[in-house]
């Protein structure tokens, strides 16, 4: 399976909101629903300000916490990207709690997040944000090519921005969104080491399938065993009745109320 990825070059992002708009229109998102949000981040005091546009969108984690905690499989990995099938989302909102980047939100009772334009890409198209970006800050392609391009761009930036770097090669199992950053990620409040919740793996991989399986298995086994055990108990009652240990009116005795 080939791995795809987005390139987000914050050195080129001009904060024009074109990606936000095209994503919303192209994916026919509902009222109040959006997958990309541009947030202006500034640090320090005038005139020594640093910061820029945080292009807040799904990072498509390799080890995605949202996928791990999703009990229905509505969130899943495909081609290195994190897809969302809203049809089977139960709206438990576990993903909104688990995501280290605060990406998924609940919209109309179900999870809502960038799915890498799954439908558009399957039909041979380019993700809407990438196709619309006027400053070439967004690219999409095989992850290795995107990674090489990201390093070329970071290298080129380093003349003016010595801290220029590529974010996302190792975080959360390697991201499907590689970000070229002119400066450290903290300046945009992006965690250097995103924390995947402890126990998240145990939840989906062990507890949930085990719960349903064990319960159904136990009910089936207990049902069959109960029939056998009840027969043995009735045999025992007959023997004890014959021996005179009990009076032996168990048969049919239950419906004799009111006599």
């Amino acid at each position: 399976m080939s791995q795809y990825a987005f390139l987000l070059d914050l050195g080129r992002c001009i904060g024009c909101q074109a990606c936000v708009a095209s994503c919303k229109v192209g994916n026919e998102l509902g009222e109040g629903q959006q997958y990309i949000e541009l947030i202006e981040k500034t640090h320090g005091e005038f005139p020594n300000l640093t910061g820029g546009w945080d292009n807040h969108r799904c990072f498509h984690c390799g080890d995605a916490a949202c996928v791990t905690v999703c009990p229905t499989g509505a969130l899943f990995k495909e081609d290195g990207l994190t897809r969302l099938d809203r049809d089977i989302c139960s709206g438990c909102s576990y993903c909104t709690e688990a995501c280290p980047y605060d990406i998924p939100v609940m919209w109309e009772g179900k999870s809502s997040k960038c799915d890498g334009c799954a439908e558009t890409v399957r039909a041979g198209g380019t993700p809407w944000c990438v196709g619309t970006c006027p400053s070439m800050a967004l690219e999409y392609g095989p992850r290795e090519e995107i990674r090489a391009e990201a390093h070329r761009r970071a290298e080129a930036l380093r003349g003016r921005y010595p801290n220029a770097q590529v974010y996302g090669e190792t975080q959360a199992g390697g991201l499907g969104l590689l970000v070229v950053m002119p400066d450290d990620p903290e300046l945009l409040d992006i965690p250097i080491d995103p924390k995947v919740p402890f126990m998240a793996d145990a939840w989906q991989k062990v507890v949930q399938p085990a719960s349903v399986g064990i319960t159904i298995g136990a009910a089936v086994v207990a049902g069959a065993a109960a029939v056998i055990a009840r027969r043995r108990h009735e045999e025992e009652l007959e023997v004890l009745e014959a021996e005179g240990v009990i009076s032996g009116h168990a048969d049919g005795g239950e419906e004799e109320e009111g006599q």
Partner: protein, 227 residues
């Protein structure tokens, strides 16, 4: 002769009075609603039922019912609640011997089982586990209900796992509960309140002996008064 049925009849014994039966019905119905409305967020085949928020609302209403059980029990039947609480955590020598032979009893053999009181050792363990697991599920459920924003990702994951594991264990206990109800024909104890006297003699010999002794003493007392 009174028209009211005797607590210790010829064929049947009163096992549960009306009030504990009502408490049990609240517990059983709220548990089943909680199980089904909880399952819809885990089971992909049922997940389409969840997003409207109706099942969440039902889950919370049933949760209040479930949490009210110990309070309702104490109000309705203070002595019974206390007795259940104490008995469930008190095991005598016969209880331990009974536990060793549990599998024989599970397969329908009462012969050679040590004599048991009103609660057999299996019921004691069942009740004790239900109480402990209910505490865990209520604590984790309240955390998820009211404190999700402040739990953090790890705290939330812990609460979910505790909630699910305790529900798994409680559901397995329910399977066992229904199993023994069926094998030893005990359902009438919770519907009409009476159980078969033969079954009581085989499975709760000490309890029945106590009842018979009490009845004999009562009769002797009555005789004395009439003389």
């Amino acid at each position: 002769m009174t028209t009211q049925k005797q607590a210790l009849g010829d064929r049947e014994v009163l096992r549960y009075r009306k009030r504990p039966r009502i408490v049990h019905a609240i517990l059983a119905s709220s548990f089943l609603i909680l199980l089904l409305t909880g399952l819809v967020i885990l089971w992909p085949a049922l997940s389409f039922l969840a997003p409207g928020g109706t099942t969440r609302w039902l889950h919370r209403v049933a949760a209040v019912g479930f949490m009210s059980v110990p309070i309702v029990y104490l109000i309705a039947d203070r002595e019974g609640a206390k007795e259940l609480m104490v008995d469930s955590f008190k095991y005598d020598r016969d209880d331990w011997r009974w536990i060793k032979r549990f599998w024989s009893y599970a397969f329908g053999h009462t012969a050679n089982m040590p004599k048991q009181g009103r609660l057999n050792a299996g019921q004691k363990m069942h009740h004790a586990l239900v109480m402990l697991l209910s505490a865990a599920i209520v604590a984790s459920g309240l955390a998820l209900w009211f404190f999700t924003p402040s739990l953090g990702a790890t705290g939330h994951a812990w609460a979910v796992v505790i909630h699910d594991l305790s529900m798994l264990a409680l559901t397995l206990l329910l399977v066992g509960h229904l199993y023994f109800t069926f094998v030893y024909k005990a359902l009438s104890g919770m519907t009409r309140g009476y159980v078969d006297k033969d079954e009581a003699r085989l499975e709760h010999a000490k309890w029945l002996e106590e009842l018979e002794q009490e009845a004999a003493e009562g009769a002797a007392e009555e005789d004395k008064q009439t003389v």
